[in-house]
């Protein structure tokens, strides 16, 4: 899982990096978790579509040798949503997959996150979601760690 905490905070634009973290965390959330986060912030679901939720393709870029020139490795489905709150705030979401309802909820959450009075409650809810994902990732990492291997080369008789 991409730990949103890996995103280095940019001192020049604290709002952008905080928003990136919030959007990344919302991207990990289920529809129920997003609804719950909105409810905790006392935010309604009312929003106008700037663009109806839409599924499209992004080309996934790899790099030759892992660190060299980029190449097109293949595409992925991505669903995006863009909304405007009655107060004028606009919110966006871009998620892998085809879940339009989830993208729209995340876009609404992104819009409410921009309201200073809603932000603390939304960030608290998102932090709880990130913690749950991190716990699952840690469990998976422990299982992989148990397969750590040390091979020994057997010396040949004449050596």
């Amino acid at each position: 899982m991409p730990s949103a905490s890996q995103t280095p905070p940019d001192p020049g634009t604290p709002d952008v990096s905080a928003r990136q973290i919030a959007m990344a965390r919302a991207g990990m959330a289920t529809c129920d978790e997003l609804r719950e986060a909105l409810a905790r912030a006392g935010a309604g679901l009312a929003a106008e579509n700037l663009r109806p939720p839409e599924t499209g393709l992004v080309m996934v870029r790899g790099r030759i040798g892992g660190d060299g020139r980029p190449f097109n490795a293949g595409e992925a489905t991505v669903t995006r949503a863009a909304v405007r709150l009655p107060g004028g705030e606009t919110g966006f979401a871009y998620h892998l997959g085809r879940d339009r309802a989830r993208a729209r909820l995340a876009a609404i959450l992104d819009a409410h996150w921009q309201r200073p009075e809603a932000r603390p409650a939304i960030e608290a809810a998102l932090a709880a979601i990130a913690e749950r994902r991190a716990a699952a990732a840690a469990r998976a990492a422990r299982k992989v760690a148990a397969t750590r291997v040390n091979f020994f080369t057997l010396a040949r008789g004449e050596d």
Binding site: M1, V60, R61, F71, A146
Partner: protein, 382 residues
């Protein structure tokens, strides 16, 4: 040549209804859920995503269900689906060095920083059929251990620092060819070749890679590193102007390193082949890396003499969908075409019989093989 036919609508409709019923199989056996395919036939799903060139596990699983498990048919469905979607853009280039590892091995370095983890692998299993699975036995829980927090840089990044290994080709901001947008022009550069190989048929690339190991264009390969795991994707939407996380995709990367004698001003060093595929696809990633290196023959001053070094041969034939399209179209009615061939063979036989009736002292060139001329193709509406 194919000439259109018409008719048969009712039979075709009924064949499709029969297909749907046959696909379902015995109705007394529970219907297979898409989530079951996604979770329990994961490597098959990964193969369909890779060759379909579209990362979407649920879609690939559904395509497999519809295709009755036929990989190429499922790839066809996925590729057809993608043509219905708009292209929103391209991701930032992903960083496999930051992968959350599910597996990481090296056949060349025992002690690499970050260590080796086997992960969920068939390697070292005894390949004995496990009949307890037929009884629906649940697996024992996986063992757990404290993870090592050390960074796991790509092995090739470490060896490269000593100059023993050629560096990756630098990112000079050159345009990135996309074969889904423009037909491939030969010679194709390495980036475009890798795109074609990434979506190429696993069986075809496996056989070609194998051919290089057996002596048809030897490249003396070693597995520098195979890593499998989750890689984060970032995308910068125009309306935001900053990158957002799209989520993570499972990928497999293979770094093959190959003996190289050096030439001209280039000292002897190891060269590299690269493989990168969706999901856990080690065989495909390894085959891709072998063929990638092999296709670099001309660039590295090696003679281009075998199929795996011939980029037009490899790239024009590695796509399972293109290959099956041309092979399988032979099943469609070719009545007009065949009628022309039939007329030709009848005429040739008549001429042959006429010559046989002529006495022995006929001209000496009689004994030469008869040229079989390409018949004049007749085109007809029906």
């Amino acid at each position: 040549m194919y000439v259109a036919v018409k008719g048969g609508e009712a039979a075709i409709d009924n064949a499709h209804r029969l297909l749907a019923e046959t696909r379902r199989g015995d109705p007394s056996v529970p219907d297979l859920g898409v989530a079951q395919i996604r979770e329990q036939m994961r490597l098959l799903v990964d193969r369909v995503m890779t060759e379909g060139s579209l990362y979407d596990p649920d879609l690939a699983a559904l395509a497999l269900k519809q295709a009755r498990g036929d990989v190429v048919e499922a790839v066809f469905l996925v590729r057809a689906y993608r043509t219905t979607l708009p292209r929103l853009g391209a991701t930032e280039a992903l960083d496999t060095g930051a992968m959350t590892l599910a597996r990481r091995i090296s056949a060349t370095f025992k002690d690499l920083p970050g260590g080796q983890v086997l992960g969920p692998t068939f390697d070292y299993t005894h390949r004995l059929v496990d009949f307890s699975l037929a009884e629906g036995a649940a697996p024992a829980p996986a063992a757990e251990a404290e993870p090592d927090e050390a960074a796991c840089p790509r092995v090739t990044d470490l060896l490269g620092q000593a100059g023993l290994l050629e560096p990756s080709p630098p990112d000079v901001g050159a345009p990135i060819g996309d074969l889904t947008r423009e037909p491939v022009d030969y010679p194709a550069d390495r980036a475009l070749r890798l795109q074609a190989l990434a979506r190429g048929d696993e069986g075809f690339l496996l056989a070609l890679g194998y051919s290089t190991q057996r002596g048809y264009g030897r490249t003396h390969p070693f597995v520098g590193e195979i890593r499998v795991g989750a890689v984060a994707l970032a995308f910068t939407p125009e309306e935001l102007g900053f990158p957002v996380s799209l989520g993570t995709v499972e990928m497999t990367e293979c770094q093959m390193i190959n003996q190289f004698q050096g030439h001209g001003a280039v000292p002897p060093q190891f060269t590299r082949g690269y493989g990168l595929v969706f999901g856990q696809g080690e065989r495909k990633a390894m085959a891709m890396a072998l063929v990638d290196r092999s296709l670099r023959a001309a660039e590295l001053g090696e003679a281009v003499v075998v199929p795996a070094q011939d980029q037009e041969f490899v790239l024009a034939h590695c796509d399972s969908l293109q290959a099956t399209g041309f092979v399988e179209h032979m099943k469609l009615p070719h009545y007009v075409d065949f009628q022309a061939e039939l007329d030709l063979v009848r005429r040739l036989r008549a001429e042959h019989a006429a010559r046989a009736a002529v006495p022995e002292e006929a001209e000496p060139q009689e004994s030469q093989p008869q040229e079989f001329e390409e018949p004049t193709r007749r085109e007809a509406a029906e």
